[in-house]
């Protein structure tokens, strides 16, 4: 079994800054700031002492010869200036390195964007022709396959699992490509230019120019509008990407809350989370999709909500709310245009489930909230943070596509996105925002495990959050301090919840 090389380098960007750098560099900038502050303070005090000594020197030496340190005092001032100059220069060089890194990233991003717009249009233009040619050449294979599938259905057997297994096998065989950071970048670019592809296929002239106005959220909104319309006129399953009402129920089973082990009605007492790893560790991974934690601080209730990732990857909306329907809604919600969509549900069922769980747990409008989520749960955490009607003061996304979320500056939001994880890229490039993006390449030389998307696994994000806790980068230190202030060291009261979609007539 080949060794899996794990990189500990965290690359930090965003946060309202144009700088991009490994966390060690940001941490060093912070340390140099501190050192410069201390030396400057010493320099100021030395200046005061020196002025007093200058005033007293004449009186002191008038009484007779003294070993007066005149040279030391003069050279001391000069030495302070030299040290401060060196510290300032060093700090400036580090900041410039981060700016240069950021500028390079933006240039590369712009080139990808340009290539994406043109490439998607050309691909869209060529795809129908290529597919037509391919369909003819594949007829000898496709016809027997279709016949076999038809026969299987007629015989009463479901070919779905076989197809599913074949798809999984194909994905497994192409895992190397799927987890290549270049492919991840390609996906991010394509997510922004899916509309160019469609316009190209429709032979719209100058498609790159027309398509540049729309990005991933608008594309997602368009998909929801089309599927909602098809559902309304009775085409398709009726629930393909069409959300519905949800309800939540308290979960009292599971290893931690098994009534056979411990009485369940009382809420579980939990210590305050100490940092990123604790936050990640509390994201539910069992029956519950949502964990709500209440901390009573200074006469107010403060809430931490932890949201699990996608559990159902099918396109048909079933009872499971953490599914692709919620994910597409979560991305579409980031576009103001989505409010104009007439067909389909207005918001993700999973997000409504989280809001219901918070309300059922006792959260009131205006109560401070910190939202944490993995994958699709991260999308919900970002949606909550972007809602001006809620008082979300902090958030942590682990591998969710949140680039387009309109998160206000008042919310400290950290988005952890592995460079070799495809999922965050599906949200597109987004826009400059106050969100601090922390990236890390998990598998430098690929992974030989069974997972199709190894870098998206929860355990990998857990390991990255441990690195975030160790980092001295000011952005991460500030978030940890904010978290400690948020809970004020109080013991929390934890409840776990499960949301599910219900038929339209049973809200």
């Amino acid at each position: 079994m080949a060794a899996v090389v794990v990189s500990d380098d965290l690359v930090i960007s965003g946060g309202g800054s144009t700088r991009v750098a490994v966390d060690e560099l940001f941490a060093d900038v912070g340390r140099l700031d501190t050192a410069e502050g201390l030396v400057r303070y010493a320099s100021d005090r030395f200046g005061v002492a020196r002025s007093k000594l200058d005033a007293v020197e004449h009186r002191a030496t008038a009484s007779g010869p003294l070993p007066w340190p005149g040279d030391d005092l003069r050279f001391g001032w000069f030495a302070f200036e030299v040290a401060l100059g060196r510290l300032r220069l060093l700090r400036f060089r580090l900041v410039m390195a981060a700016e240069l890194y950021g500028a390079t990233e933006r240039t590369v991003g712009a080139l990808w964007d340009l290539g994406g717009a043109v490439g998607a249009s050309v691909l869209g233009f060529l795809a129908p022709r290529a597919m037509a040619g391919a369909a003819v050449s594949l007829l000898p294979v496709a016809l027997p396959a279709a016949a076999a599938l038809g026969l299987a259905r007629m015989a009463g057997s479901d070919p779905g699992p076989a197809v599913d297994a074949a798809v999984r096998r194909w994905l497994g065989e192409h895992r190397g490509v799927l987890n290549d950071p270049a492919f991840v970048r390609f996906v991010r670019t394509f997510a922004d230019h899916a509309d160019d592809f469609v316009l190209g296929a429709l032979n719209v002239p100058a498609a790159p120019l027309v398509g540049s106005a729309t990005e991933a959220p608008e594309s997602a909104s368009l998909i929801l509008g089309v599927t909602g319309l098809l559902s309304a006129i009775g085409i398709g399953t009726g629930r393909t990407l069409v959300d519905g009402p949800v309800r939540v129920e308290r979960v009292t089973s599971g290893p931690a809350r098994d009534p056979a082990v411990a009485p369940s009605p009382s809420n579980a007492a939990v210590p305050p989370p100490r940092g990123f790893e604790d936050l990640a560790d509390r994201v539910p991974r069992g029956d519950a999709q949502i964990t709500v934690e209440r901390h009573h601080v200074d006469g107010e209730n403060r809430w931490l909500v932890y949201i699990a990732g996608t559990a159902d990857f099918g396109l048909v909306a079933g009872s499971e709310t953490n599914d692709m329907t919620s994910n597409v809604h979560g991305i579409a919600d980031d576009s103001p245009l989505d409010a104009l969509r007439l067909a389909g549900s207005t918001s993700a069922g999973a997000e409504r489930g989280v809001r219901l769980a918070l309300a059922e747990a006792g959260a009131l409008p205006g109560d401070p909230i910190v939202a944490v989520g993995h994958s699709g749960g991260g999308v919900i955490a970002a949606s909550l943070a972007a809602d001006p009607g809620l008082n979300v003061v902090g958030g942590l996304n682990l591998g969710g596509p949140v680039a387009s979320a309109q998160i206000p500056e008042t919310c400290s939001f950290i988005s952890v996105e592995h460079a070799d994880d495809l999922v965050p890229a599906t949200g597109g490039s987004g826009h400059p925002s106050c969100v601090v993006v922390v990236s890390r390449r998990v598998n430098e030389h690929g992974s030989d495990g069974d997972a199709v998307l190894p870098a998206h696994q929860f355990v990998e994000y857990g390991q990255t959050t441990a690195l975030l806790d160790e980092s001295d980068a000011p952005q991460l230190v500030a978030f940890r301090e904010q978290l400690q202030e948020f809970t004020a060291g109080t013991v929390g009261e934890q409840t776990r919840w499960r949301a599910e979609r219900v038929p339209d007539e049973e809200p």
């Binding site: 070993p67 220069l89 060093l90």
Partner: protein, 114 residues
Amino acid sequence: MTSYDDHLAAVSALRNGTAVTPECVDDVSSAQQTLRELAEELRGPAAAAMPGPPTRWRSDAATAYAEALEEARGSVVVIARIMTEAECALGSCAVTLRARLDDLEAALAWRPSS
């Protein structure tokens, strides 16, 4: 032992403004204390706040950064050394001034024996 001459010299020093005063001794002692504290702060918290050499970079830039860091650290150490030397010199000054002040006070207190 003080003498009449010492007494006259002390009175003369007071008149000329060349006599050591308690304020002068206090000022020098106070500055000495400040420089001692500065040296300690520079060797302690300021030096501790400085970043260590990069451990995760492996490049020419990292080497150059490590060298520049060492220079910056060295310049802080140099200030601390200067502060210590100045503090020691001021300590000697304070001892000498205090001795002169004691002599002055003794000379001024001299009275002819009857």
